[in-house]
């Protein structure tokens, strides 16, 4: 009895195995992967069919940058919708493929493997550790990728396009701003509070360079992303007698730093990197301190500026997502989507919508983004696309919680600066 059941099972298994080997695998391509040309004579590759162009987004919807990631995703979907309403690109509709990585490297690698083969470009990838983890694959795939991080380690790769300035450029312009408008002069001490890691160290490169050029003494304080209370750092800055502090940390640490400093009677200017400020800080107890003498540097214009393109974006965004707050992710995402779509349009003109074709088309533009308040040069990839930073100041009533304090400018210092690559 038992034997006959077993032999029946073996027979069934054998049949199953036969059936499995007999039915053709979808993966079987015979090895020859020819780039198919579609009916309209445009060369296409992965992510492009006769009717749609798929664009990936690897974002953070559940991790520490969830609100930023959500704004980015919303804004990019808004951009694609508007392009589709106007007829799409190359006669094709744009389609977003979104994956959340929750700021987890393994999830990001898994997400790239999953959606990478299905998309022609990545409209945004949140986090420089995540971009670095898939950098080799991005390069092998020639996938145009816009990271939402501005560390210099992301430079030097042809398909990866860091938007506008890197953190070090912002900090050089910040020191220049302090010297010109806040009375910091040779021999003075300035502080720099920064995160360990890519972001902080990129920024530190800039401040070190600028401080040396202007004869300032830099007081460094390195913290971890998990540190919350800045009392000890404030004490150290106070003891050193700094005249101003540069801030390359997260919004929470910025709030603590500025709040504690002011409460302790250290009434000096603070200048942050673009990731140091968030409008969500204004309703907190640190709000009044931030409104007093805090500024932040940004390569892209803050959404509260009066550029017509950004005003229109703000209105459209509010109409589509009435419940969502507007932060820097909205303009950053929208601009990044614009970069990708313009590359696609250019690639369409030269009838080559393969990934390599898109990267080539993208790299042929040298003055992109006038309407968003800063031109970017995409023809070189071992230098930042722009050297001009805005000085923005928090403002309770402004859209996105900040206004332009000083228009985008490129300091003389930054022209001499050699950007470390990789």
């Amino acid at each position: 009895m038992a034997i006959s059941r077993t032999s029946r099972r073996i027979a069934a298994l054998a049949l199953l195995a036969l059936a499995a080997t007999a039915c053709a695998s979808e993966k079987a391509t015979g090895g020859g992967a020819e780039a198919p040309a579609s009916g309209d004579g445009v060369k296409t590759g992965p992510g492009v069919t006769a009717g749609t162009i798929s664009i990936g987004m690897m974002t953070d919807l559940t991790g520490p940058y969830a609100s930023f990631g959500k704004s980015l995703t919303n804004a990019q979907q808004l951009y694609f919708e508007q392009v589709n309403a106007a007829g799409g690109v190359c006669g094709r509709k744009l389609e977003a493929v979104v994956r959340d990585h929750g700021y987890d490297v393994q999830k990001a690698v898994a997400a790239y493997t999953e959606i990478g083969p299905k998309v022609v470009a990545m409209a945004h990838v949140v986090g420089s550790p995540m971009v670095n983890a898939v950098k080799q694959r991005i390069e092998a795939d020639k996938m145009l990728t816009i990271p939402q991080a501005w560390a210099t380690s992301l430079l030097g790769s042809e398909p990866i396009q860091v938007t506008a300035t890197t953190y070090d450029i912002d900090m050089i312009n910040a020191v220049d701003f302090l010297a010109k408008e806040k009375g910091v002069k040779s021999g003075d001490k300035i502080g720099h509070l920064y995160f360990e890691g890519d972001y902080g160290e990129s920024a530190l490169n800039g401040s070190k360079f600028a401080a040396e050029k202007l004869g300032l003494e830099l007081v460094e304080q390195k913290i971890k992303a998990t540190d919350q209370d800045m009392t000890a750092q404030v004490a150290a800055f106070k003891k050193a007698g700094v005249k101003a502090v540069l801030v390359s940390v997260g919004p929470r640490q910025t709030a603590s730093l500025v709040g504690v400093s002011l409460a302790g009677g250290m009434d000096i200017p603070f200048v942050g990197s673009n990731s140091a400020y968030s409008p969500q800080l204004l309703p907190t107890p640190a709000g009044p301190a931030l409104l007093k003498d805090f500024y932040y540097m940004t390569g892209g214009a803050p959404i509260g500026s009066d550029l017509p393109a950004l005003k229109k974006l703000a209105d459209d965004y509010k109409a589509k997502y009435p419940k969502d707050a507007i932060d820097s992710g909205v303009s950053a995402g929208y601009t990044a989507a614009g970069i990708v779509v313009d590359a696609l349009k250019k690639a369409c003109e030269s009838k080559d919508l393969t990934r390599a074709g898109v990267v080539t088309a993208h790299r042929s533009q040298n003055a992109w983004g006038q309407e968003y308040g800063g031109t970017m040069d995409f023809t070189v990839f071992d230098k930042p696309a722009s050297l001009r930073s805005y000085v923005a100041k928090p403002d309770k009533d402004a859209l996105g919680g900040a206004v332009v304090f000083k228009d985008a400018s490129e300091s003389d210092l930054v022209k001499e600066y050699q950007v470390p690559v990789g």
């Binding site: 090895g31 559940t62 919303n74 979104v98 690698v109 080799q136 380690s153 360990e196």
Partner: protein, 372 residues
């Protein structure tokens, strides 16, 4: 080996061979993560499940394995961040990396031999923080925060990587890095599993279980408790190192952030969910913990009440996290023996039904034999 085990092994082996021919790269990658996790979890289960020694530092040994492999196998690199490396043949580097993890475990074993239970757990926690600090700051070895690229494994001229210039095509299916690594993963997991089974079923396994259940009794019976504890710790570190090497090969880039506390905790979750103290439990738990969130993320948009990413409401990613959390709670609450306990229970029940059915037939329903 019983007939049904043999059948099951044949079926599993057939599935393992056929899968790379049908499933796409992202499935293979998830499978490989699960295999690497399974190897690591087997090691942790030897330590925590079988010997009763809690370790929160398992992620550290994975990191030692991963970074060890990269350092041994890479050629030194000059440039802005000059990176060191020994440039050894990659299989040698892999073996050395596993040994290095063992040595790291050995260095910690004086502590591991003296402490037990939660005390050891807290002590191993320190490893995570030391590891994080070392990985971020020993830039010439680890590449700093961004990690460094992992050289592909090459055994007798066969490269476990994508080779666009000379593609390998088997039965019409192009064999890239993941397809090739799949088979490597299967072999490693099989070897790791069989070795651990041998340890658990033999004399050392009994000694380990006795230490877990009653330390004094074990000592009275002549088991050298401290030596066993230290030895198991070293062995478990080597399993961690092997898992680290495999993960590095799949990632193609080592990233220090990955080897944090969260990873160590997820390994503990694996063995608890799967079933403490056995190889099969560790494997089941590893597959469950590493695949469930991925499956949920991939398919949760088919569930009701789930919105598109970025919209107001519960998105696919959040839903996956919630469901994963729920699943963990349900397993811990209702399945004291873990998933393996559930499997065994089901098997028992089926066997009983199958065994009782013929008997009932004889007594109640008339058959040609019973009729007259």
């Amino acid at each position: 080996m019983s007939r049904s085990t043999l059948l099951w092994s044949i079926a599993l082996a057939a599935a393992a061979v056929v899968i790379p021919f049908y499933l796409d790269a992202s499935w293979l990658q998830d499978g490989l993560f699960a295999m690497a996790a399974a190897i690591g979890a087997i090691g942790l289960n030897l330590l925590t499940g079988a010997t009763g020694q809690l370790s929160m530092g398992h992620a550290f040994f994975l990191a030692v394995g991963a970074f060890g492999y990269v350092y041994f196998a890479s050629l030194p690199e000059e440039g802005a961040h000059s990176l060191g490396g020994l440039g050894l043949p990659t299989p040698v580097a892999a073996v050395l990396a596993v040994l290095l993890a063992g040595v790291a475990g050995g260095l910690f074993s004086p502590i591991a031999a003296r402490l037990k239970g939660a005390y050891l757990g807290i002590a191993t926690l320190a490893l995570i923080f030391i590891g994080q600090f070392a990985m971020s700051n020993a830039t010439p070895v680890t590449g700093g925060h961004n990690g460094r690229p992992v050289p592909p494994l090459e055994v007798f001229g066969f490269v476990f990587a994508d080779t666009p210039d000379a593609p390998l095509v088997i039965a019409g299916v192009p064999f890239g890095a993941l397809e090739r690594l799949w088979f490597l993963g299967i072999v490693l997991l099989l070897g790791a599993g069989l070795f651990a089974r041998g340890v658990l079923r033999g004399r050392p396994g009994r000694a380990m279980n006795t230490i877990r259940d009653h330390e004094i009794a074990a000592g009275v019976m002549g088991v050298p408790v401290a030596r066993y504890r230290a030895g198991v710790f070293v062995l478990s570190s080597m399993y961690g190192g092997l898992a680290g090497v495999l993960i590095a090969l799949v990632f193609q880039q080592t990233v220090p952030d990955y080897f944090g506390l969260l990873l160590a905790l997820s390994y503990l979750a694996m063995i608890i969910i799967g079933g403490l103290g056995s190889v099969a439990g560790a494997v089941i738990g590893a597959v469950f913990v590493s695949m469930l969130p991925r499956l949920l993320t991939r398919y949760s948009d088919a569930l009701p009440l789930i919105v598109q990413p970025g919209q107001e409401g519960v998105g696919a990613a959040e839903a996956a996290q919630i469901l994963y959390g729920l699943a963990v709670v349900v397993v811990v609450l209702f399945l004291p023996g873990g998933l393996l306990g559930l499997v065994n229970q089901l098997r028992l029940r089926i066997n009983r039904r199958v065994a009782s059915a013929p008997a009932a037939k004889h007594s109640l329903t008339p058959t040609p034999e019973t009729r007259n």
